[in-house]
Every structure is written in structure tokens, then in C-alpha cells.
């Protein structure tokens, strides 16, 4: 087991550094810099001094190595948009609304999806099944800003039940949470349905039925437990997905979270913030895939023995 984990860890580390290099190069090859005349009207001498102070006059490879050296020490630099704080301070401030709304969206959406998927699998080819697959197809295909727009139009504009935007008051959370919840609900409804149908068709279920076990016990004690593995492994990537979803949800609902910084850091050539956001997401995905690989290897010994697949 340990060699397998170490091999995966090495592979993930290499992936992470290659991605960081590609993003760094792409970011710096976007024409224009943070102190161009339009965004920040300063004299040439001041600009040169600023560039030198921030190390932007150095060759790219030096900048990259310096930056990554800082990253390894949890030093992500100072965002150019808001020089009074560090990138870490800015992120930990902006993270709160995104985490609350996205987290609640997943926490509410995932169980609903599991219930829907279970209902669909246990009532195959009935209206419940068709309803569940319609809901999951809609949730999986329609972009989150379209869902958000529809929610606002129905509940805020037409019915006038809920406020459309804003942040601190909890009643303003309801619509963005509903928008976030659509994706985990759809994902889980689909995965749960197919995993449960898969398990229900196995011979051991027939044996349990022959043994005279009640259908409830078969479902809750045996089938659900055996179907849980794929559900556990999709959880983390889906949770991270709410971070990219926040770009749209927070723009639609005017929430002062992380989302807006993804766009503004690119527009303003705010290299430290942009790099930090990209690396954060990449890092979380790397960890999520690593964890799910390890969980899989723990469950399935063929993977850690065979190695190649």
C-alpha cells in the first residue's frame, strides 16, 4: 500500500508543478501589465520603481522560482488590487460567503439527490424514475447562471417571495443556496440511481431475498452500503466545483465572495492573486483525486497490486 501511495503522491506533485508552470506562463503572456496607463496612471519612473519593487522586472524564470519558493512557505504575496493586505488575508476574508453558500448548497443538495436516486432505483420505470432523471438531466446540463436567472425571475421578480441579491441576512441566502444545490442534487441522483441498480442486480441480493429478509433491511443495510463507494468518491471534486460555480452564482446574486476575484484578477493582471486562486483550485483537485485513489485502493486490492491501470 505505501509504495502505491508514494507513487501517486509523486505523480500528483509533478502534475501540480507542471500546471503551476503552465498557468504562470499563460498569465504572464497575456498582453499588458498591472501598471499600464489605463488602470493606474503613474509616471514612467514610478512605474519602473513599482515593477522593480514587485520583482516584475526580473526574467520570467526568476519570477516563477521566487513565487513558487514563496508558495512553499505559504507566502502568496500581496494582491495588487488591495495592497493593504496579503493574498492569504484577502482570500480568508472573501472565502466566508462562498464557503457558507456553496457548502450549504452541497450539504442540502447531496442528500436530496441521494433520496431522489434511491426513489428512482427502487421504482424503476415509473413516473418517479422519469421525474428523477428529468431533474438530474436539467441540473447537469443547464449552466448554473441560467438556473440562477430562472430562480431570480420566478421567486424574486414574479412571485416576489424572496430577495434577489445581497449577502449578510440569511433570507438572502436561500436563492443562491438553491442555485448551488442543483448540481450536487443532479449528480447524486444520477450516481445513486445507477449504483443502486447495479447493486440490486447482484446475486447476493437474490440470496438475501431468498433468506426472507425484509425489503427495507435489504435496501438500507446491504444495498445502500454497497452502493456508497462511488458516492463517496464524487463528493470532493463536486465540492470544489462550487468554487468555480461561485463565479456565476455570486455575480448573479451580488454576493461579495471569492467568485468576483477570479474575473477581476485576470482583468487587472493581478498576478499574485490570480496565481493563488488557480493554484488553490488545482491543489484541491489534486488532493481530491489522490484521496479518492487511495480510498479505491483500500477497497480494491487489484489496483495496488497491478499498478499499471
Amino acid at each position: 500500500m505505501l509504495p502505491y501511495v508514494l507513487r501517486r503522491l509523486l505523480s500528483v506533485a509533478v502534475t501540480f508543478f507542471v500546471v503551476s508552470l503552465i498557468i504562470f506562463l499563460m498569465m504572464h503572456s497575456i498582453p499588458g501589465g498591472p501598471f499600464d496607463a489605463n488602470d493606474m496612471p503613474v509616471s514612467a519612473a514610478v512605474r519602473e520603481k513599482l515593477m522593480a519593487q514587485l520583482g516584475l522586472d526580473q526574467p520570467l524564470h526568476v519570477q516563477y522560482l521566487r513565487y513558487m519558493w514563496g508558495v512553499l512557505h505559504f507566502d502568496f504575496g500581496v494582491p495588487y488590487q488591495s495592497p493593504g493586505e496579503t493574498v492569504i488575508q484577502l482570500l480568508s476574508r472573501a472565502w466566508v460567503p462562498s464557503l457558507v453558500l456553496g457548502g450549504l448548497g452541497v450539504v442540502i443538495g447531496a442528500p436530496l439527490g441521494i433520496l431522489l436516486g434511491m426513489a428512482a432505483a427502487l421504482n424503476r420505470n415509473t413516473w418517479i424514475d422519469y421525474f428523477a432523471s428529468t431533474v438530474s438531466t436539467i441540473g447537469l446540463t443547464i449552466p448554473v447562471f441560467v438556473t440562477s436567472m430562472l430562480l431570480i425571475l420566478v421567486f424574486a421578480v414574479w412571485l416576489n417571495w424572496l430577495p434577489a441579491s445581497g449577502w449578510p441576512q440569511p433570507e438572502r441566502w436561500i436563492l443562491p443556496i438553491a442555485a448551488y444545490a442543483a448540481i450536487p442534487m443532479a449528480t447524486y441522483a444520477r450516481y445513486t440511481r445507477s449504483a443502486m441498480l447495479d447493486t440490486l442486480s447482484r446475486p447476493f441480493v437474490t440470496v438475501l431475498r431468498a433468506k426472507g429478509l425484509s425489503e427495507n433491511r435489504i435496501v438500507f443495510q446491504h444495498v445502500l452500503r454497497n452502493s456508497a463507494i462511488p458516492l463517496v468518491t464524487v463528493f470532493l471534486p463536486m465540492f470544489i466545483g462550487t468554487a468555480t460555480g461561485s463565479i456565476f452564482v455570486e455575480a448573479m446574486f451580488r454576493v461579495p465572495g471569492l467568485g468576483a476575484y477570479f474575473v477581476s484578477s485576470i482583468e487587472k493582471r493581478d498576478y499574485p492573486l490570480e496565481m493563488a486562486l488557480m493554484l488553490m483550485i488545482t491543489f484541491m483537485y489534486c488532493i481530491a483525486y489522490l484521496l479518492s485513489d487511495i480510498v479505491y485502493a483500500l477497497i480494491n486490492p487489484r489496483i495496488r497490486m497491478g499498478g499499471s491501470e
Partner: protein
């Protein structure tokens, strides 16, 4: 004698395509999705015949932001343009980007997947590492960077969508080729001295045709979503070209007073993406019934 013989002789001639077609027809959601998609494609192709005014002409400035009426089915937008016309022409942008990007994805995905699956070893390892890079970077974030790098534009969006669309096609083709590589007919071809290129082209790719078709169709909604998302953020296809993503973004500012500005582009995008996905899912279930419900 012959009257009896005819139907019996007919039976074995039913091809796998006939059975796939029957399976497809029995899936009502997929048929509905296909029909809606066909109507949308016709609408996009014959847009000038459906609405007489050009989408960028500000012909109705005096009626700016007018609500839907008999003359302007979807109303007029803030710059005096007929909104119905803009929605119809928006279908052109959305669908053409979807189809072209999906075609590029297939063109990249097939050879890479086939070579990796056939030769295995180092090449396969290398391809899989590249795919791993794509799996840890969310397409949208990378597309935002690339969009800023290239200043958006129609063809750039197509390329960005293809850059992220080929991975799925490649994985499908690779899996299929790997499964067929050890079959007897491939071994026989190798023994007869056929070159790897000939075997891939003549035997392995034709055997992967159903995952390729499915991959193509399912890449379309993804590309359309990417285009709409980038246009929504203002780094997609630049105005005045009408795109639904852009219109939704403008619609946010108007939605409390001029609901038509928000409703129609949102509905158009939702219907198109949903119809294409339903059609693709149905096609997948019809072509490969073992995958049903996944």
C-alpha cells in the same frame, strides 16, 4: 413457398443499426430532444428567412425596451434591436460553436486515443499524464485565462472548447481500442503483415464508431455551455454579434423592469443545451445498451 420464405429470410438481415434505431425511438425524451434540436438547427440555418431584419441593425430605437408585441415577438432590446431576431441569430453562434468545437474534439481525440490505446507503453503513459493535467484544472478557469490571452473572438472560443472537449473522446476511443487490440481479427491482420496504421484505420477506428458518435454529440452541449459562460463573463464572442450568454448578462440589469430581456435568452440557452444533451444521452443508450443509465 416463396411467400413464407420472404419474411424468414428478411429477419437475419436486420442490422445492429436497425436495433439501435428502435431503441432510440423507444426513448421519448431523446426523440423529443432530437426534434427540438432539428428545429433549432433549421432556425439557425434559415435565420434570414425567419426574420427579415438584420440582428445588429438598430431599427427600432424609438421603441427601445418595448415589451413583446405582435410586431416584436420577444420585444425590443435596449439598443433598439428586435429581440426575436437577436435570439434566432444567437442560435447560429451557439450551435455552430457547439458543432465545430465537437468536430475538432473528435479530430484530435480519435488519433490520440487510438495511438495510445494501440501502442500502450510510454506513449500511453504520456497521453494519460497530459489528460491528468486537464483533469485537475477546471476547464472554465483555464478558458478564462486563454480567453483573456487571446482577447476572445469566435474562432478562439471554438479552439478553447475543442482543447477541453477532446479528452473525453480520446478516453472513449482509447478504451475501445484497448479492448479490441487483443481480438483474433486484429491478431490475424498483424500476422498477415498489416501495418499498425492500417489496422487502426481499417479495424480499430470503425469498431469505435459508436463511442465516437456519442462523444461527438455529447461534446456539443459542453462547448455551447463554455461559449455561453465566457460570453456571460464578457470574454467570449464580442458584441455586436448576438450570443445568448451576453444577452443573459445584459438581462440581469433589466430583469426587474423589462423581464423579456432576461427570460428569452435564458430559455433559449436552457432549451438548446437540454435538447442536445437528451438527444446525446438517448443516442448513447441506443448505440451501447450496456451503458444505460450511467
Amino acid at each position: 413457398m416463396t411467400e413464407v420464405a420472404v419474411p424468414i429470410a428478411d429477419l437475419p438481415q436486420r442490422s445492429p443499426i436497425w436495433f439501435a434505431w428502435q431503441r432510440f425511438l423507444s426513448n421519448k425524451a431523446a426523440v423529443a430532444g432530437g426534434l427540438v434540436l432539428a428545429v433549432l438547427i433549421l432556425m439557425a440555418l434559415f435565420a434570414p428567412l425567419i426574420t427579415p431584419v438584420p440582428p445588429e441593425a438598430q431599427l427600432f430605437l424609438t421603441e427601445s425596451l418595448a415589451f413583446p408585441s405582435a410586431q416584436h415577438w420577444f420585444g425590443v432590446d435596449g439598443l433598439g434591436r428586435d429581440f426575436y431576431t437577436r435570439i434566432v441569430y444567437g442560435a447560429r453562434v451557439s450551435l455552430s460553436i457547439g458543432f465545430i468545437a465537437a468536430a475538432f474534439s473528435v479530430v484530435i481525440g480519435i488519433p490520440v486515443g487510438a495511438l495510445a490505446g494501440y501502442f500502450g507503453g510510454r506513449l500511453d503513459w504520456f497521453v494519460m499524464r497530459i489528460i491528468e493535467l486537464f483533469s485537475v484544472v477546471p476547464p472554465l478557469l483555464a478558458a478564462m485565462l486563454l480567453g483573456a490571452l487571446t482577447r476572445g473572438g469566435y474562432f478562439t472560443i471554438v479552439l478553447i472548447a475543442a482543447l477541453f472537449g477532446w479528452v473525453q473522446v480520446c478516453l472513449q476511443v482509447r478504451a475501445q481500442v484497448k479492448a479490441f487490440r487483443e481480438r483474433e481479427f486484429v491478431r490475424a491482420a498483424q500476422a498477415l503483415g498489416a501495418s499498425p496504421w492500417y489496422i487502426i484505420r481499417r479495424h480499430l477506428i470503425p469498431n469505435s464508431v459508436s463511442p465516437i458518435i456519442v462523444g461527438f454529440v455529447l461534446a456539443i452541449p459542453l462547448a455551447m455551455m463554455l461559449e455561453a459562460s465566457l460570453s456571460f463573463l464578457g470574454i467570449g464572442v464580442p458584441p455586436p454579434t448576438p450570443t445568448w450568454g451576453q444577452m443573459i448578462n445584459e438581462g440581469i440589469d433589466y430583469m426587474f423592469f423589462y423581464w423579456h430581456m432576461a427570460v428569452f435568452p435564458t430559455a433559449a440557452l436552457a432549451i438548446t443545451v437540454l435538447a442536445t444533451s437528451l438527444f446525446g444521452d438517448g443516442l448513447r443508450d441506443a448505440l451501447d445498451p450496456t451503458l444505460k443509465g450511467r
